[in-house]
Symmetry: C2
Subunit: 207 residues, 2 copies
DNA sequence: GATCGTTTTGAACGATCGTTTTGAACGATC
DNA sequence: GATCGTTCAAAACGATCGTTCAAAACGATC
């Protein structure tokens, strides 16, 4: 589109190619609802309103559209650290930031869930995105065990438990999607998950 | 193959068609590892060691192979009830039987997980299999809330939390499949999940 | 051993997949 | 205004998808 409105090309950043963004937006939506394999390039281009050839032209193939979706997410997750001197608080912060991100980018998180479940061949290249946060969670849990504020036998199971709660508990109803639409803020959602993780269904007062 | 070893045809039950069973076995394995869409009929028949046309001939199509996988599971889940007068025990029993089934049929459960995550178009016909157990869980949780032994705000989130823990916490490590192979019995696994569900990571003595 | 229905085979079908090709349209530079 | 590289649209590409078909092979019955 017509960039460079007389100025130096410095504002190029905000006006880059509509087409690439349109494809990415359509891909995010389609991959989330129909999965990667379930989405065809033609559906993608139809939804994006661009010609069929442009996926290959701009991205070099369907796969690269997928990977391009997670590049910003990769950058976001790189520089996250938590204070391990108080593991309990670190875990709360971890959950909170995860839930908040989930509210900001529900489709990306949903795609990640699908790919994890499918053990898709694309996971290899997604490890950069996923591994850091899982390792941070693992560190937090191990610190909490030493601290005595967190209890578990197997770190592996504990990590999976927390991740499972993060991923699953906030989902809409799988089978009665009608009765979903529970409007809660990301802060409320985070509190909910935190209580599940720390106390399960135990009917004790939460501190 | 040669059935009817001189007797009446009464033992037919154990000797039914090799081909159909071979296809089902191959399908269970392939669908679990590569997903339904990721599996081709040709791979299926190769693995089963049968000719390409036999999937359509015996089952009438790839889809019907999929549904046939869950017919026995459907029958199993129909007649399950739990004593709701003691919801806490009912929930423990529910979790235990789920975990045990998970150990008996890990591939079927894994396929179900995938289909749920994908919100696949096949879920409609799988509702017969899935809905009953989810509704039972829901009933148990609601009974427990009345009883005062189980605490939560939204039934929906609570159901998802329990299911997420059941499904996720026992998974092998998604990203380091090497360090999996944690050999625990289904009884131990059930105990683990029960503790997660009831107490989370809370470092309190379990009763 | 001829005849029947059932099961299996190999080849082919039309449809659709992701990708490539061709050439026109565009804006920038000289 | 001619020429350049970039961007886009239409058509076509080979490959592969799930399924079907005609004929061969099989087992049971007469």
């Amino acid at each position: 589109m017509g960039i460079s409105n007389g100025n130096d090309g410095q504002i190029e950043q905000i006006a880059i190619k509509d087409v690439k963004n349109d494809i990415l937006k359509a891909a995010k939506s389609l991959f989330a609802t129909k999965g990667f394999e379930g989405t065809t390039v033609r559906q993608l281009c139809d939804k994006a309103g661009v010609s069929l050839a442009l996926v290959s032209y701009h991205f070099g193939g369907k796969d690269n559209v997928f990977y391009a979706l997670f590049e910003p997410l990769d950058r976001n997750f790189k520089n996250m650290t938590y204070d391990l001197t108080v593991a309990e608080k670190a875990l709360r912060d971890f959950i909170r930031s995860f839930v908040i991100y989930r509210y900001e980018e529900p489709e990306l998180i949903h795609i990640l869930q699908q790919e994890l479940m499918m053990r898709s061949p694309r996971l290899d290249k997604l490890k950069n995105v996923i591994l850091p946060s899982w390792q941070q969670l693992r560190s937090i849990l191990e610190a909490g065990k030493l601290e005595g504020t967190i209890q578990f036998d197997s770190v592996q199971f504990a990590v999976n438990f927390v991740m499972g709660t993060l991923i699953f508990s906030l989902n809409d109803s799988f089978l009665n999607p009608s009765e979903s639409d529970q409007d809660i803020t990301s802060e409320q959602a985070a509190g909910l998950v935190i209580r599940f993780v720390f106390n399960g269904l135990n009917p004790t007062v939460i501190k």
